[in-house]
Each structure stands twice: as C-alpha cells, then as structure tokens.
Subunit: 660 residues, 2 copies
C-alpha cells in the first residue's frame, strides 16, 4: 500500500492537470477527474496491467472511461504513467483543433485510449464487449495468452441511459467475472442534484442482474483497494459504487454542478491549490510525484515480458494464428474462398432472399474465418446469422461462436464495438433494419472510430409485409448512408451479397451494414465475374452506349429495374441499368468512373423501396424516382409494392413520361 500522503499527492497530480487544462482551454469538465482521481490512482498504481511503452499488448487490462466528458482523467493518467505519445504539451493543447487531447477521448488519437466515449452509457457496453472477447479468446487460446481484466468507470448519466440496462443484464447473465465497473457516485448531474430526476437503488439494481456489488468511500484508497481485490475473487462481474465528491478539493465548488462542466476559474484554482497544499505551478507535477507515477507505469513490464515469453514458446501455428488475429489480418486464401463460392453461384444462380444469400455466404466465411463472432438481437431465425459452424455461447461455455444478444440492439451494437476494439475477433450480428434506429448511436461511434463491425440488417423495406409500418424501414437507408465512414450495402442477389460480405470483411477501417431482404429475389448476376463488381459501389449491370434511359437501383429493386429495361427495350427504347450496392464506395472512385457510371442518357430514373433522399446524386433533382414517399403499411408484401407503385411498370411509365 502506498502511504496515504503519497496516494493523495499522486491523485492531486491528476486533479491539478485536469484543472489546469480545462482552465487553459476555457472549456471542459474538471469535476469528474477531481472526484474520481482517487479511484483511478488506486487502479493504475496497484492493479491495472498495462505497459505504456507497449500500449497494444494484447493481454493488457482494458480501462474504459465511460463518462467520457471526464477525459482529462484519462489524459492525465496517460501522461503521468509515461505513454510516449502523451506529453505535457499535449495536455496543454487540451480541446484544441488537431490535438490528441480532444474534448472527449477519441480512439486513435493517442495510444491508451481504448475507445471513444462521450455519448453516455456506451463505455459500459464497450467494456462488456471487451470482457466477452477476453473470455472467448481465453477459452480459445488459453490463459497463457489471454487473461486480463476489463475495468470501466461510469457516472450517473451512464447508469440512467437505457443502454446500461442492456449491457449489465447481459454481463450478469454471462457471468463476466473479469469485468469491474466503478460508479463515480457524486450525486450531481447538469440540472443539479441527481435526486431531481432519479432515485434508483443502484446496488439493488445490479444485484437484480446478478452482479457482485460493493460500496466504498471513493476517496478511501484502502477501501477501493479492498473492493478491487474482492472483485478479482468474484465469480460474477463486480459493481463498485464509489461515493465521491465531484470536484473534490475545490473549497467552494466541490459537490456542486458548478464544477461539472466549466473551468473553475483562477480564484478557485488558487483556493484549491491552497486547500490541497499543492505548491507546483500550472501543468507542473512535482518530480517525486511524476517519478512515482512513472514507476506505476512500469509495474507490468515483467508481466508483459513473461507474456511475450509464453507467446514465444507457444506452438508456431497457434502463435501465428493469435498474432494474425490481433493484427486484424484476414487469412491468406480468403479471396479465393469467396471466388470459389461465386463460381458455384454462377453454375446455378439461386432465387432467394438476400438474408438467405447472406447465410449462404456466411457458411463459407465462417468456415474460413475462425475469428467471426456471430449473433443476433433475438432474431436468429429471421436474420439467418447462425451457420453450421456456430454453436451458442453460454454463461459457462464460451467455446461457441454465436451470441444470443437478447432483445438489446443498442447494448449489442456497443458491445460489438468493444469486441472489435479488443481485437482478435470480428463481430457481426443481426437485427431487423428498422431497429438500426435503436442502436444508431453505437453504429455512429463505430464509424467515428473506424472499426470493423458488421451489422446484418434484414427485412429492409416494405417487403416486410404484414408487420406493417412500425417494422418497415423507409428512411433507414438514407439515414445510415448519411453517417460518414459507414459502408452501407444493399445487395441485389446472392452474388452481390457475397461480394458485399467480402468488402465488409476486407475493409478493416470502416464498419458496415448489409441491408437484406425478407423476400426472394431473382438473380441479377448470372455469369461469373472474377472481379468484385460491388467494390466500386455502382456498376453497369446492363450496358447500352446509346441509352436514352439510365435506371439506377439497389437491392430488391434491381430485379424490377431489369424487368423494366427489358420492357423498354421491347418498345424500342435503349436503356441501361446500373446496380448501386454501396453509395460510399461509389464516392471513393475516380471522377471519370463516376461520370461514366452516371452516364449521359437524357432520362435518369432511380428505384429503391425507400425515400428518395440521396438519390439525386445519381439522377439529379429532375430525375424520376420510383420508391417510397411515406411510411409503409401492413399487408402482404406483393400488395404493398403494387400499392406504393414500386414496380417495373412504374419505372416504364416514368421513363415514357420523361421521354414524351
């Protein structure tokens, strides 16, 4: 145990860096770093297994600051423990354009930032995903290579958000005993006292989902220490409720919402300096304290070396596989596996729903890639996400590769982010496309972080049929395409589905969504193509250099576009058809390709069973659109397509009207 005086000085080093950085930026949240400094000091000086010089060590403990507004807590810790890419200059650049020290922790800005947080509750679910990944990889590779804890720190906001319920219920169910969640219980939110809006008994709440629970004084290092040790002995995840004072140490503002999200001001900082007996200048940490922190950052060097020795002595195949998996590289031959599958499809092009085509592609993919972790938000039989290789993960056996996430889209998506961030696994999972709305914040964060998670979004239009407008996406393609850095695919048949899966898996820097039909579709691609045609986002399916009409379509509407083209051709009208499986990849292409694909036909028509928004990129504001202009309805799917006028006849009529 570090002496109390030493502990206090180390914790105060965090507090003053946070105060100073927020003051200099004239923006930020000093309250949490000051209040949670004691918790963090105990964790980072005694328990957290980490090596700042080897920040990507696969077996390090993970630390997630779910209450991301307290970013200065994390930045101070990274600086103090000696991460080479977090200097005092970086701290001084807090919240400035181009700095590593953004307002909220941004994954990729500096090592040691395990995930992007800020939107509340996400970090809890990220941590659940990391703990799932650890447990799964420990079972697969053995505890010699994977055996670490995941710690997260959350505030009241995280616990009020619904996603926290989804995450903790799942963690409790799965008995993720290497997960430890600290609650910075400071009783303050932006509006004032927590009691203005909440009176949840958090301990009872966590017990109800089978967590180990402990209550401590969050400023008592012995109590915090004892709690962590008790957590390590638990067979369940542990919730440590830490009673803290927000802005601890600020004589006039501590314990109030005034210290939550505003600089303390020079006067209060001076008063705090006096109250905490801190002589150092702004941004200056006394040498002995910095030295003690650096020592804390070196605690795990031996553990890391021992782990490296174990890895080195692991048999070659396993070592290579472990290393490949954590490098995020697909195995050699993956392209060929997809290509071989495409050849079989060309032999007998199937008329199937793309959700079924996705299952067929996954049968190949999951056979080839042991790192896929499949799942569904309780729609396994509808999403077709479970293939023959996959058995279900259970609380007592993580040998399977399939997660029953429960009816928890948001928690699932955020946990998938955690799995991907942890490394070693590629998570994909299923839901109805309509419920992408339920997990949109987590999809957005995946895009912002640039991580490989794949969402299988089935039932992608009014093709849903009888379930009606609450279950029929009409605006979701547009809404998802609007998210930067997200690849949204809408394949037209089995071949395109396979190609889109390949692209989603091979793109290591962007998350993907696959919009898939409930209903059967005729094949659009009936001949084998060695090239992945979907890779360019849009391509000519039916060419005609003299076309008077260009029809652009995605997914299920490619079928009617092709039919309309045949009908127009029969009428003597030259027509071409462009399949548009992915807007984002199309935008990545060189201008001349894009210009050529859009073409020069005087009449441009787009068809998608969704709202028009976004399609003007292809057809211009004067093009014709065959799609949805309202919410859907309940009825047999074929009736709906007719009712809403999404038919080949409608395309033909639109073309003729424009030509006349």
């Amino acid at each position: 145990m570090i002496s109390n005086e030493q502990h206090d000085r180390m914790a105060n080093a965090i507090r003053f860096l946070a105060m100073d950085a927020v003051e200099k930026a004239n923006s930020g949240h000093p309250g949490l770093p000051m209040g949670a400094a004691d918790i963090a000091t105990v964790l980072f000086t005694k328990y957290l297994k980490f090596d700042p010089k080897n920040p990507n060590w696969p077996d390090r403990d993970r630390f997630v600051l779910s209450a991301g507004h307290g970013s200065m807590l994390l930045y101070a810790l990274l600086y103090l423990t000696g991460y080479p890419d977090m200097t005092i200059e970086d701290i001084k650049q807090f919240r400035q354009l181009g700095s590593k020290t953004a307002g909220h922790p941004e994954f990729g800005h500096a090592t040691g930032i395990e995930t992007t947080t800020g939107p509340l509750g996400q970090g809890i679910a990220n941590a659940v995903g990391m703990a799932i990944a650890e447990r799964k990889l420990e079972q697969e590779f053995g505890s010699d290579l994977q055996d670490h804890y995941t710690y997260a720190l959350c505030g009241d906001g995280c616990l009020m958000e619904g996603i926290s319920h989804e995450a903790i219920a799942l963690a409790g169910h799965l008995k993720l005993n290497k997960l430890v969640l600290f609650w910075d219980n400071n009783s303050i939110t932006i509006d004032g006292a927590v009691s203005l809006s909440d009176s949840t008994d958090q301990i009872a709440r966590f017990k109800a989902v089978h967590w180990n629970t402990i209550e401590v004084d969050g400023h008592d290092q012995k109590a915090i220490s004892d709690a962590i040790e008790a957590a390590h002995k638990s067979d369940r995840p542990t919730f440590i409720a830490c009673k803290t004072v927000i802005g601890f140490g600020a004589p006039n503002k501590a314990g109030t919402h005034k210290v939550h999200g505003s600089p303390l001001g020079a006067e209060e900082i001076a008063a705090t300096r006096k109250a905490l007996n801190w002589e150092a200048e702004a941004f200056d940490t006394p040498a002995d304290v910095l030295e003690a922190w650096h020592s804390a950052g070196e605690r795990s060097i031996q553990a890391r070396k021992a782990w490296e020795a174990r890895l080195a002595s692991t048999d070659e195949a396993k070592k290579a596989e472990f290393t490949r998996r954590f490098a995020g590289q697909l195995p050699a031959g993956f392209d060929k596996a997809i290509d071989d599958y495409k050849k079989t499809l060309a032999e007998k092009p199937p008329t199937i729903a793309t959700r079924k085509a996705s299952e067929d592609a996954l049968e190949v993919i999951n056979g080839f890639l042991p790192e896929t972790l499949g799942g569904s938000a309780d729609l396994t039989p509808s999403n077709n996400t479970k293939t023959s290789q996959m058995t279900s993960i259970t609380p007592t056996d993580f040998g399977g590769r399939y997660m029953h996430w429960g009816i928890r889209e948001h928690g699932m998506a955020a946990a998938m982010n955690g799995v991907a961030l942890h490394g070693g696994l590629i998570p994909y999972s299923g839901g109805f496309m309509i419920f992408s709305d339920y997990c949109r914040p987590s999809i957005r964060l995946a895009a912002l972080m640039g991580i490989r998670v794949i969402h299988v979004l089935t039932h992608d239009s009014i093709g849903v049929g009888e379930d009606g407008p609450t279950h029929e996406p009409v605006e979701h393609m547009a809404a998802l395409r609007a998210i930067p850095n997200l690849l949204m695919f809408r394949p037209a048949d089995a071949v395109e589905t396979a190609e889109c899966w390949q692209l989603a898996l091979e793109d290591g820097k962007r998350p993907s969504g696959l919009a898939l039909t409930r209903q059967n579709l005729a094949p659009a691609r009936t001949t084998y193509s060695a090239e992945n045609l979907c890779a360019k986002g849009a391509y000519e399916l039916i060419a005609d250099d003299n076309a008077k009409v260009s029809i652009f379509a995605s997914g299920s509407e490619v079928e009617i576009a092709v039919k309309a083209a045949a009908d127009l051709k029969a009428k003597g009208i030259a027509v071409r058809v462009v399949s548009v499986p992915c807007f984002e990849l199309f935008e990545d292409q060189p201008d001349d390709y894009k210009t050529a694909v859009i073409g020069t036909a005087p009449v441009k028509i787009a068809a998608e069973a969704a709202v028009r928004q976004g399609w003007d990129r292809f057809i211009g504001s004067d093009g014709a659109f065959v799609g949805m202009h309202s919410f859907g309805a309940s009825g047999p799917a074929k009736d709906l397509f007719k009712h809403f006028g999404i038919t080949s006849d409608a395309i033909v009529a639109a073309a003729e009207a424009k030509l006349s």
Copy 2:
C-alpha cells in the same frame, strides 16, 4: 367475480379470434393473445374504465399493449367489448392492406388503440407519459375531471430493451401510483427460451426503482384480480409479474417459441378447439360469451355519465379550458402573441444563439399556453428550455410545468409521445441534437402517429466546438429530414425561431424538431413581417431577378450566405439568398412556388454545416455545397468552421469557380 367457467369462456373467445385471424392472414403472433387472454379478461371485465361508444372520453383508463406484436389481443378486446368501428369483418381483414387491423396496433386506425406499438419497450414509456399527464392534469383540473389509471402489458422483449429502464426508473422516482404494468412472463423469445440471453430478476429490478411488485399466476383470475386491487392501493407504480404459458391452450405448441410468431395451423387449431372445449366455428363467438363481453363494455357507462355531469357543473371558464385542451386547440390570440413578439424583435434585432432565441420565444409561448409541458434530458442550462413561468415537477408536486427527465433521451421522447396521446398537454423537451440518435425510434413513432411533440435540439453542428465529434451532429439534419411526416426546422435567427415555434405548435398532426445553435448568430430578418415566412419552408431572403448565383442556406449558415452575397455583389455578381428553415414545409408548397424559389440562376450553392445529402433537391447534383464531408473535430467553434471550410469566403470561392 365472474365464475371461473365464464371467465375461461370469455378468455377463450380472445384466444380463438387471435388464432383464427392469424390463420386466415397466414401471418401474425397468436402466442401472446392466447397467453395473456386471462390477464386482459380480468382487466377489461372488472377494472378498466372505458366506454366503447365514447372512446375519447378524457377520463377513461388507458390501456397500452406494449408488446404490440400481440395486436390480436387488443383487436379482439375492441371487437368483443363493442367498439363500433371494430367489427368481425375488421378482424377477418387482419394484416391486410387498408384494414384497421394492421400487423401491429396503429394509432388512428381504430378507436381504442391508444398508441402505436411494435418496436419493443416503447409502450411502457408511452404509459409512463400518460400517467404523468394524468397526474399533472388531476392536479390542475381536480380529480372530478381527471382521475384514471394507466395500464400497460409488456413482454420479455420490452423489459430487455434499454428504454424500459429509463421509463421505469422515472416512473418509480415520480411515484406514479396510478400506473400498472403487467408482465406477460412466458419465458419465451424468438430465439428460444429467455434463459438463452437473460436471467434478470425482474421483481428485484423493479423494487430497485421503487415500484410495488406482485407475482401471480397469469391464468388465475382471482390472483390477477387481487393484484390489481392491491395496485390500486399502492402509493407507487405497480409491476404485476404474471407467469403465463405462451399460446395457452394449444396442446402441442403452447409454451414454445413455435407459437410466438406463426399461425398454429389447422391441425393445432382443431386440437386447441378440442382441448378448450370450444364448439364455435372460426370467427364465431358464442352468443352468451359475446353478450357477456358486451356487458363488460357497458360497465363504465354510468361512470362516464357521472363524469359528464361533473364536467357540466364545472365553472364555465374551467370547463372551456379543459375542453379546449383536450381538443388540442390553441387558445384564440396565440397568433397575435407571436406577432407582437416579432414586432419587438424587429425593433431591436438581437444577435443571439437560436437556443437563446428559442428560450425567448418560449417565454412568450409559455406565458400564453398553459398546456405546454417543458423539460430536458438533463441539459436545462444548455437547452434553454425552462422559462420564468415554469417550476419543476417533483414526485410530490405536479403543479409545476417542467420535467427533469434525467439522462434518458429515449424514455423521455417515448413518454412525451404518451403525454401527447393522452391529451390536454403539449410536451416539448430538450436535448443535444446529437442525441436525437438516442431517441430516434420514438421520434419516428411520433411521426408515424402524427402527434404534436416538439423536440428542442440544441448544439446543432460543429458550432458545438470543444466537445468534439461525439457531440457534433453532421448527419442528423439529413437523418431526421428523412423521416416522413416530421417537421425539421433549422431557423436562422430569433425571428425565424419564433416563426418555427409557431408552426410547430400550430401543426397538430406532425411532430417537430428544432435544430438550434449553441453560438450567437447575427439577425437575418431585421424588418417586421406580418406573414410567417418560415411557413413555406423556404423563401427568398435576398431577391434579385437577374441573379447569376442562388445561395440556399439554413440556420447558422444563413449568416455566412448573406455575407457571401454582399461580397459577391461587391464584385458585381448578382446574387440571391434563400433561407430554408424547413424542407418538409417547402415540399408541401405548390409546384410553381417551389420552382420560383429554386429559381433560374445558373449557379446554385447550398450552405449547411452538415452533410450534403438532401440538398441536391435545391442545387441539383452539379451544384456546389459548402458543408461537412466528414465527422467534426474538437476545438474552438470558430477554428472548426474555418478548418472545415464553412465560411462566406468558401461560398464566394465556390460561386466564382462555378461562374468561371
């Protein structure tokens, strides 16, 4: 107490209607109606205060089927209890295009459907909103006019969804003792047993948020009845966990996920008919049973008449106010109040943030409209949603008009839907625009239902500044505009903000969102206009019939568009500026207006600090766009606008490039 035999026959009438309707549609969910028929029978025959002939009676009890897939339960109840607009023919049209009996209950399709459900968990939060409205109106108008219960029925899915946590924590905090939630605890989900994905102790969970909890056999009418009576005596909301058998009565499929979402099949229906001793043909309810159900539907006629008598004897002013409020009509003179306020603005046009302009407008609005219920998801000082007239609602005093919703965007938005559906109040509330993602499913449902809820979405762009990309909406305008039937406003100054508020309030059939800035904006409108110019969605702010350049902009970018126009004019280039506060209202205009607004200038430029998607409607695919092409960043706002090139200089440069 009805005899057990009679009860069983009445419950079986529900079961067979559900089985028959699903069978005929060859689609639907018989499991829940069969399993929950006993609960519903007890509630509707003994407790629910309702009058099918007066379905909109303001003091009726509300019943919400949160597990909306069990829609046939509700349709059967409406038919059996004698709602005139729910006939046996309607039941036979289950899930057919154009029928009232959609796959999931759709508000507005038939009376007695209190809300649209299907997306899980929403109904629980709707019910919380209804109970809030009841409590508030009871305190305002007295228990003579408002004194009813709100009942909801949910399944495992509803309870797994995060929104349920937000809703029940709030309900427990507020001690909504007239709220009763039944849990159809059938232990089955689509993937199989609930135990595949969840092991929550729901009783303990509800206790942790201070609910009264009761466990019963969901097929024991006496136990259900006792539980409801105990609930009525509680000073807290009550959770009644009803152990049920899904598909109760089906000899071979009951208790399995096979009966959740598929027709039973003729054979199993025949077996059920035999097992339950039911002789009637498909869709036929024995006369005595139908008679008993009709009697149940007439139970509250006296209560309704007594209520009408009390209303009649209420003093005229109060009666008129109550009636007006439930009719959803704004008071006479509201237009003038806004108009007067616009005159004061014209006298001294303020340079303020639109969030502040919204507060100023609300100061007028809340002074005039006693029915507004304000609130924020714990961002009151940032959203500027609390005006001088508003004191906070507390668990013991609903005399205030301001809700501290807590950090619960999703629960808040769904509860706001419940408040609006209940009637008598107009809910508005605040959040950061970025977190519209957290409550998007509820915003969508408000749009689908066509109800008046208003979302104040502040911090609407990179103007957020230092908080960085996790807090900066870039795709949210596009994503929200993509939702049909939602009015998304992005006003440019204080005058437009007032006009947009007026439009949001006056449109009783569409929800609204107001995207508002954090940062100050110069006034765009400096002269008084009697006309609400925002009503047309887009209008010429600076006219020039010979314009070579049209600049279209919304919100904070109108300021830079005006500046760019001045700069271009100084260079001798004729230019016009169109302010576009609302895409949806623009699309409502006649074609000639739209054509005129878009204009004939050869160069079209749009400016919005957001993604381009949607703007091609105005500028065509070859127009220039000054906006965002990626996520934002953390830094001072003025640095960010410069960094991302959203400046008047950028507009000028774009114009010159296009003209050259």
